[in-house]
């Protein structure tokens, strides 16, 4: 498995998606267990990618590329699982609906979180920027999401985070979703004060918080 991990990391360094997918396909063709490949090769590769990003050794475009590669490999794994009818092999850690709250059109911080979540095995529904409260809720319901993640870079948009939680409370749906918040002016204290379940002070922290909320080791 260590060789496979190194080979995949080399493909990411070289920016060669076809080669990465080819390596995964070959491993599967040679009898590798698809769930084992996902959990013990792809997850460690993506964790390494996330760590490199948190040290700014790589940048957002590299992260997006890694997420695309991970998705392509996951599709291969999924196909083998479906063929072999192996059950209990959900390759997503959880589903996250993410967006920048109403009034805020900043997206790069949110995109970093979104991509790093994907890299780490979450299914991410990114609903963009300037998102009204109702859109977060309706999308999360439609997608049957586990987590709603909200980003704000503006103090005057932060109240919409509180409004979303209040609205969920009012609708009697607060328990359906975990709520994670983040962004420049957002703090752990603010997250606590509005009743959010988690706060991520940067992209990697947001991933860790999401994992913790869904009790993922």
């Amino acid at each position: 498995m260590e060789k496979l991990i190194n080979d995949l990391l080399n493909c990411l360094d070289e920016g060669d998606m076809d080669k990465a997918v080819g390596i995964a396909k070959e491993a599967l063709a040679n009898g590798a267990d698809p769930v084992d490949l996902f959990q013990n090769a792809l997850v460690p590769v993506m964790t390494t990618v996330g760590d490199r990003f948190s040290r700014l050794e790589i940048y957002l475009p590299d992260l997006i590329f890694a997420a695309d590669v991970a998705k392509a490999i996951k599709d291969e794994v999924q196909e083998v699982i479906l063929k072999t009818q192996k059950s209990g092999a959900d390759t997503y850690l959880g589903k996250v609906v993410i967006g920048s709250v109403f009034g805020d059109v900043h997206d790069i911080g949110k995109n970093m979180v979104s991509t790093l979540l994907e890299v780490n095995g979450f299914q991410v529904i990114d609903i963009g920027v300037n998102v009204p409260v109702q859109n977060f809720i309706s999308t999360a319901e439609k997608e049957n999401a586990d987590i709603i993640a909200m980003s704000s870079l503006l103090t005057t948009s932060m109240p919409y985070m509180a409004e979303l939680i209040k609205t969920l409370d009012g609708l009697g749906k607060r328990d359906k979703f975990k709520i994670v918040v983040g962004g420049g002016p957002v703090s752990a204290e603010w997250a606590d004060s509005i009743g959010a379940d988690g706060y991520g002070h940067d992209a990697q922290d947001a991933v860790d918080v999401c994992k913790k909320l869904l009790a993922i080791q």
Binding site: L56, L60, P61, G103, H106, I108, M112, S157, P185, D202
Partner: protein, 457 residues
């Protein structure tokens, strides 16, 4: 106003440019930036705090100009690229003003274009730059800046509450936020005896709502300067273009800013410098703005004083100020807050970097990266401006060595975020003078930087 004839052309391009998915535009930026970094052999050198070589600065300019031409601007509202030929870009740069009068009466000042190592002292702007301020302290905090003669202009903060309520952008509250800003800023200017001082506005106008309302009868006017940004990277939208159209038709001065994110689509230090250069060029074209600011942002510390960003700012500023006469500005956005030595070293670093790189106007200080309520004061901004006065005329080589020394005092603290103290803990609210402890820190750091070679008065 010569440049403003372009408004119809800009709106046409936003409606008729080639359609592209936003994700594809982001990818276009990252691939083009990477290609240009290779083509022009641009390389961040950790050994130097700032760029000191004209050839490097000029290579950055050519690469930034090519980026602007090849990528253009993305209008998120229409999902179209606004593309400009090199001739259109150069024509806009040619007719851009090289000087600008702001303020009125005795508070009138002229912003002039500068070159790297220029002995001309840059214009200085003080203020909390969007930091959330308590409503009851807003006017006093603003007065703490306006009362300092070193400032030629000021910029406000954001309201933490509005008439005691929670402020919300994109709602009727934004109108009230804009008018509270008008009311309390003007009151502070009158009390400080500088009623004609120019103000950077409307700070509380996150959307067009606040700008349209605050720039109207009895509000802010043509002797102030009005913000219209690009969102990252190289994007605009109808909310921003509505501001542009309104400001052009009301004959107001437009100030732009763009804040490339380190580690984002632009990549590393070379990439954010390139996107900053292209951003300023394209904002001059699209926003028809007269002053142009960059504040590249660190993805984890949210500041612009990290060493990689300081270097990138020096590259971008020297590129622009050697090759155009645009009125450039740079804002200090440090991690440290009032009452800390590190804050003053962050200011010394940025103000020296910008001044020797030819920046026309030095802005600051958004202390504690502008997110901690009331963690700002006039004193650090005064220090920032005084450093700019002292650094005018220094060589880049001299500045490079000094900045390396300044950075030793705060770089190890960047991830600690020493947000310091709030305004009430560092200023006497009756006299609006710094409390002795904060004054003592200022005096000490001033002595230290003088010892390091900065000729502060």
């Amino acid at each position: 106003m010569k440049s403003h004839v372009r408004l119809l052309d800009i709106l046409d391009k936003a409606e008729n440019g080639p359609i592209m998915a936003e994700k594809d535009f982001d990818k276009l930026i990252s691939t083009t930036v990477r290609e240009l970094i290779k083509k022009y052999e641009l390389k961040y050198d950790r050994k130097d705090a700032i760029v000191t070589d004209d050839q490097v600065a000029d290579a950055f300019f050519q690469a930034g100009l090519e980026l602007a031409e090849r990528v253009g601007v993305y209008c998120v509202s229409t999902q179209r690229r606004m593309i400009f030929s090199r001739e259109e870009i150069l024509e806009a740069l040619r007719w851009a003003p090289a000087e600008l009068e702001i303020g009125r009466g005795l508070d009138r000042v002229v912003v002039r274009s500068r070159r790297p190592e220029d002995p001309l002292v840059p214009i200085n702007v003080g203020g909390p730059f969007g930091t959330p301020l308590s409503e009851e302290l807003y006017s006093q905090i603003m007065e703490s800046y306006i009362q300092e003669p070193v400032f030629d202009s000021v910029v406000g903060g954001n309201f933490h509450t509005i008439h005691g309520r929670e402020p919300k952008t994109h709602s009727p509250w934004e109108v009230l936020l804009a008018w509270r800003e008008v009311e309390l800023t003007k009151a502070a200017a009158h009390r400080a005896g500088r009623p004609g001082i120019s103000v950077g506005v409307v700070e509380n106008a996150v959307t067009e709502i606040g700008e349209l309302s605050g720039t109207s009868f009895g509000g802010f006017g043509p002797t102030d300067w009005h913000h219209v940004c690009f969102t990252s990277e190289l994007k605009t939208n109808y909310s921003l273009l509505i501001k542009v159209a309104h400001l052009v038709k009301t004959e107001c001065i437009i100030h732009d800013f763009c804040n490339p994110i380190l580690g984002g689509h632009a990549g590393g230090p070379e990439g954010i410098a390139l996107v900053a250069i292209a951003g300023v060029i394209l904002m001059a074209v699209v926003n028809m703005s007269t002053t142009h600011s960059i504040c590249p942002t660190h993805p984890f510390y949210n500041c612009d004083t990290a060493p990689e960003i300081i270097w990138a700012i020096s590259a971008a500023q020297q590129a622009l100020n050697r090759n155009t006469h645009l009125l450039t500005t740079v804002m200090t956005s440090p991690v440290s807050g009032p009452g800390t030595e590190s804050l003053l070293y962050e200011c010394a670093t940025m103000a020296t970097t910008a001044t020797v790189s030819g920046t026309a106007r030095i802005d600051g200080v958004r202390s504690a990266v502008g997110v901690v309520v009331d963690h700002v004061s006039g004193l650090e901004a005064r220090f920032n401006a005084e450093v700019a006065h002292a650094a005018a005329g220094l060589s880049r080589e001299q500045a490079n060595e000094m900045i390396k020394e300044f950075q030793k005092h705060y770089v190890p603290l960047l991830d600690k975020k020493p947000v310091g103290k709030s305004f009430v803990e560092v200023y006497d609210l009756k006299t609006l003078k710094p409390l002795p402890e904060w004054q003592k820190i200022y005096d000490k750091v001033k002595e230290d930087v003088i010892r390091l070679g900065l000729p502060m008065k």
